[in-house]
């Protein structure tokens, strides 16, 4: 044991080498090396948690840097999991750090979770959160749930039995995932960088308390934190009876985590009759993304012309319309345009692509 490194926590009343040894023996998996994951990872690794896994398949982008404080400007484009692992290894070489630059799926999650004692969910979407929750319930794995929205955060500890014999999970709060667009994500809603810093750090504190047996972790409690007022509101969670959850690996593998989640496509493909119906709505814009020389030429009064070659320029302007329909010759470029636009607007606008394009519905143009 590196007594000097841990000296300031070793001298803590009631901590000592016993608690430190518990940390050194513990295995924690952090999912999402983002705003919540970065500070949590730093404190877990610094405190001497023996084994730390980092799951994130994403790469570092410029807009991450205001809150994902493990990364430097020169890291843009690199994998988060690997970059975080490198920096953390430099922080504390005692810790065995394993990066997993993968997307969690039903097929890989159980085997991965089985290797760790505690799971920290610091992801940014409901699909992952329900998948992680259900995997933890199945494996009876303690789950530390951390999430932020705007200026507020939520923190909870699930799958541990309290002295009232209660054992809750995320579905006791929200049995089914919100539908797409129901709850705004950080891209749409914004987040002050320091907020996930606070909530992620609190999550690390909960894990350290759980490992060492200190204090009162938030077992079966949901903590609400408001950055603007510094107010905390702690709610007691009891078990609900009104949901189904996988009880076996077979059932788990048959669950569908892709429907109705915020992560589902932010645009939809429509046919000509749906397009005609949407056309009647005042706040609809129809955009032909074919190049200017392509035929048939469409009525410019009805169809705005934004060739793919000009799309990036077009994206710099703000679109007032609520419904945005893209079309092209075969419905392939229009999907690309819809995808690109949904990156900008997420679920705040209704974005469509005409399936099959002008070629399929030739008689209607």
């Amino acid at each position: 044991m590196d007594l000097e490194r841990y000296s300031r926590q070793l001298v803590l009343e009631g901590f000592g080498e016993t608690a430190q040894q518990k940390l050194l023996n513990a295995k924690v998996l952090v999912i999402g090396a983002g705003g919540l994951g970065c500070p949590a990872l730093q404190y877990l690794v610094a405190s001497g948690v023996g084994c730390v896994g980092i799951v994130d398949d994403d790469t570092i982008s410029r807009s991450n840097l205001h809150r994902q404080i493990l990364y430097a400007t020169s890291d843009i484009g690199k994998l988060k999991a690997r970059t975080a692992a490198e920096k953390l290894a430099a922080l504390n070489p005692d810790v065995e750090i394993t990066p997993y630059p993968i997307w969690l799926e039903q097929e890989n999650i159980l085997e991965l979770f089985a290797r760790y004692d505690f799971i920290l969910d610091g992801t940014d979407n409901f699909e992952s959160r329900y998948l992680i929750n259900d995997a933890c319930v199945l494996l009876k794995k303690p789950l530390i749930f951390a999430a932020v929205s705007g200026y507020e955060g939520q923190l909870a500890v699930f799958n541990l039995t309290d002295n009232q014999q209660q054992c809750s999970n995320y579905r006791d709060l929200f049995p089914i995932p919100p539908t797409a667009g129901e709850i705004p994500n950080c891209e749409e809603n914004g987040v002050l960088g320091v907020l996930p810093g606070i909530i992620g750090t609190m999550a690390a504190a909960e894990i350290i308390k759980l490992i060492t047996g200190k204090g009162k972790p938030l077992i079966n409690k949901l903590l609400h934190y408001n950055l603007l007022t510094q107010e905390q509101y702690v709610l007691q969670i009891s078990q609900a009876q009104n949901y189904t959850i996988a009880q076996s690996e077979d059932e788990f593998l048959k669950m569908n985590y892709h429907n109705n989640c915020a992560l589902t496509e932010a645009y939809s493909e429509i046919d000509i009759s749906q397009m005609q119906a949407l056309k009647e709505i005042e706040s609809t814009i129809l955009i032909d993304v074919r190049e200017r020389y392509e035929v048939p030429q469409l009525d410019p009064q009805i169809f705005s012309k934004v060739p793919m070659s000009e799309l990036e320029h077009f994206l710099e302007t703000d679109i007032a319309a609520e419904h945005i329909i893209f079309l092209c010759q075969h419905g392939i470029r229009s999907v690309a345009a819809a995808e690109r636009l949904s990156e900008k607007y997420g679920h705040t606008k209704k974005i469509y692509s005409l399936k099959g394009g002008i070629a399929k519905w030739r008689n209607h143009f």
């Binding site: 994951g37 951390a146 919100p178 950080c186 509101y233």
Partner: protein, 77 residues
């Protein structure tokens, strides 16, 4: 009967913290109907109620000066 309503996240944007006087509302199920009628945006999103800091799993009777918290799920990270 008067109760206090506290809400979080997106819900706080249309239901600010307030005291409301209720007549013909005696339990949390009836309160949900009342709130969704008064604040139609609430009907469109998932939320959970807590009565005096306890999550409501099935309807509970309301008493004068109870505090109801309304919270949406958060997913951001």
């Amino acid at each position: 009967m008067e109760i206090e309503v506290i809400s979080f996240g997106k819900i706080a944007e249309f239901i600010p913290q307030q005291k409301i006087s209720l007549s013909n509302v005696s339990n949390t199920d009836e309160l949900k109907v009342y709130l969704e009628k008064d604040f139609p945006a609430l009907a469109g999103i998932k939320y959970k109620l807590a009565l005096n800091k306890n999550i409501v799993q099935s309807t509970l009777n309301l008493n004068n000066n109870d505090v109801i918290a309304i919270m949406p799920p958060f997913s951001g990270g």
